[in-house]
């Protein structure tokens, strides 16, 4: 028996739904960028996610066996004291997102059923939950629960770095912004157009200013194409301070609609351009992934042009190199980059070499080829649609459940937020919808344009009690608002509207034919959001 403590299927279902909402809130509006002639991202994402879904469970188990549950939590804490570490927001989020997207890719491709590969899902979600218990300090699983704020670094670390920032006059702002952009660009290129090459955390509230810390990983030694980046460090990090007072004023005037840290480790704002709030900044170098923090070097803004020319050269070399690689080669390489969010975890656990030798990290499980063949048979528009669905919350149906036992304790599930005894018969779907609207205290606000909630209902069915799910929303999800519609959407007004049950959808596992419906209990699965910086939310 392994040391990884597995969650129950019911709890796993909660996190599948959580992931579905989380992924779609973050990515749906951004998943429309079309085909990239240099890097076949839509193709590699599908099979890379599947690679993670099939391969990572045994790695998660091996890590747990070596360091135990508390050791896994300690891994998550690495990010509290370090910059330039890939044990970051994006990588930790991807333990959930990418792996469950692998399950989704299989389901959307019709290759497996929701009841297949249950142990893989349980293992992945159990590991992710445990890492997050160490990684996040707010007890949440994602920054969107905290009002899109992720204060990962310890306060004294942020204070120390932010005491070293330089004021930026116009010339320095231009230089800094271009350098910041160039490192991000190389981070994307070295990571095959994938967000794993970058990572922001924050905003950290330091009284009169907000701080954002950014890492750009420009030379990942395990990727053979990184020889084009020779001479560059593993990571450039940036510490940026923003004018909190001005942002608060603009927020009140409606000129700044949001300034949010998404769990891909990306700061987004509306309006998009938030450079006018930037006050001061500085940059750092971490030479190797295991360079001690005491040896992380600060760069003066005046040093940046020298580094800029090296980055320019690396981008040029790397682009030419990628342009020469075959599509198949890039697809395979991209899949390993995409599933490579586990790399820093293996390194931190001291298990990378063992993963390569014993668990054949760089090999492809045969099961993966089914999806490769499936994708290979698709035309480009189908591939784009496949990806669009993947980033829009589709493909994460609950794992089927057997009948459940009658309730014997005050709270049926230790993972639920709130449980309400109902003991009522609903004659029509409209009656249930009215009850939900009357009894729901909160909805999850998703800035992509909706408020959502999902409950479990314990219902009587053929003499047995069963856990069923109901999804209900204010706003569009899915289909999504078009960008034009979203622009006109008033979220405050939307909050006042009644929610509607979303029928004919994976996450509403009752149908109109089930009425009259005897409901015994209502399980509110999710906690209300608890913004760390309410003025930003």
């Amino acid at each position: 028996m392994g040391k990884l403590e597995k969650i129950s299927v019911e709890e796993a279902n909660k996190y599948l739904k959580y992931g579905s909402l989380h992924i779609s809130d973050t990515l749906a509006m951004r998943g429309s960028e079309g085909y990239n002639p240099l890097i076949p991202r839509q193709v590699y994402e599908g099979w890379g996610a599947t690679l993670a879904f099939f391969k990572h469970p045994e790695l998660h188990e091996a890590i747990a066996d070596k360091i135990g549950m508390e050791g896994i939590r300690e891994l998550g804490k690495v990010a509290h004291r370090e910059i330039g570490t890939k044990m970051n927001l994006c990588h930790m989020t991807c333990i959930d997102w990418i792996a469950i997207s692998g399950r989704a890719a299989q389901l959307l491709g019709g290759i497996c059923d929701p009841g297949d590969w249950v142990n893989n899902a349980l293992t992945i979600l159990s590991f992710w939950k445990t890492v997050m218990q160490g990684f996040r300090k707010d007890g949440r699983l994602g920054g969107w629960e905290s009002g899109y704020v992720s204060e990962i670094l310890d306060r004294d670390v942020v204070e120390a770095f932010s005491s070293e920032v330089e004021p930026l006059d116009e010339g320095k702002i231009t230089l800094f912004s271009r350098f910041n952009a160039a490192t991000q660009l190389l981070g994307f290129l070295d990571h095959f157009d994938c967000r794993l090459g970058l990572g922001d955390t924050g905003p950290y509230d330091l009284g009169d200013k907000l701080v954002v810390v950014r890492d750009a990983y420009v030379n990942e030694e395990v990727y053979h194409w990184s020889d084009a980046c020779e001479g560059l460090p593993f990571c450039y990090s940036f510490v940026m301070t923003f004018d909190k007072q001005r942002m608060m004023e603009d927020r009140q005037k409606g000129k700044l609609r949001f300034f949010s840290m998404y769990d891909t480790g990306t700061i987004f704002s509306d309006p998009f351009d938030h450079s006018k709030y930037l006050l001061r900044a500085t940059a750092y170098i971490r030479e190797k992934w295991d360079t001690p923090m005491s040896e992380v070097r600060r760069l003066e803004i005046g040093d940046l042009p020298h580094h800029m020319s090296k980055i320019n050269e690396a981008i040029s070399k790397l682009y030419r190199k990628l342009a020469k690689m075959s599509e198949v080669e890039k697809m395979i390489a991209g899949g390993f980059v995409y599933s490579g969010y586990i790399l820093p975890i293996l390194r931190a656990a001291g298990m990378y070499e063992e993963a390569c030798e014993k668990y054949l990290y760089w090999s492809i499980p045969p099961k993966n080829f089914e999806l490769v063949v499936h994708i290979g048979e698709m035309e480009l528009p189908q591939i784009l649609e496949f990806q669009r669905k993947g980033v829009s919350g589709f493909g994460h149906p609950p794992i089927p459940l057997p009948a459940c036992q009658p309730k014997t304790t005050e709270k049926r599930f230790d993972w639920s937020y709130q449980e309400t005894d109902v003991n009522e018969t609903f004659n029509t779907p409209e009656d249930l919808e009215k009850w939900l609207n009357r009894n729901t205290q909160y909805y999850l606000k998703c800035q992509s344009g909706f408020y959502g909630n999902t409950v479990g209902l314990i219902v009587d069915e053929a003499g047995q009690q069963r856990l069923r799910y109901v999804d209900y929303y204010k706003g569009n999800f899915p289909p999504w608002y078009t960008p034009e519609e979203k622009e006109k959407l008033d979220m405050e007004e939307l909050a006042r509207q009644p929610a509607r049950i979303k029928w004919d959808w994976d996450w509403t596992t009752i149908t109109a034919q089930d009425f009259p419906l005897r409901v015994r209990e209502c399980i509110f699965m999710f906690e209300p959001q608890n913004p760390l910086l309410p003025f930003l939310f």
Binding site: R30, E33, Y35, N36, P37, R41, S177, R178, F268, A323
Partner: protein, 128 residues
Amino acid sequence: MSVEMKGYEFIGEGFNVVTAGKVEGVAKSVNTPDQMVRLMGVSEEVKKLILITPGGTTTFVAPALMAGVRGVITFAGAPESHLGIIAREFRIPVIMSLRLEEGKGIPEGGTVLMDCTSAKIGRVYAKT
């Protein structure tokens, strides 16, 4: 709001990424990495170009961004994408998901103007 501009023909509009005012350049379609690599050999020329690309992906146009391309117009993507993020830092005008007016096209090698004055909507014109 009128889209008329004297001396120019309105071609279409999309999402504006950077409020960068109006910029004019020579329209150049780039559809493959090889075409981009060829442009890397003439980086001074790139500074005069407005690149037209089918997708809205950042890595594909990476060398052009580094070379200081005058602008980028895409037929897909949104300002929240990687390209949007990077273009804002570079202060390079980008209009994404361009929707062409019926019967209109971007004149290859012709002069086009990107009107990026509005925070959200970018407009594209051809010089007449």
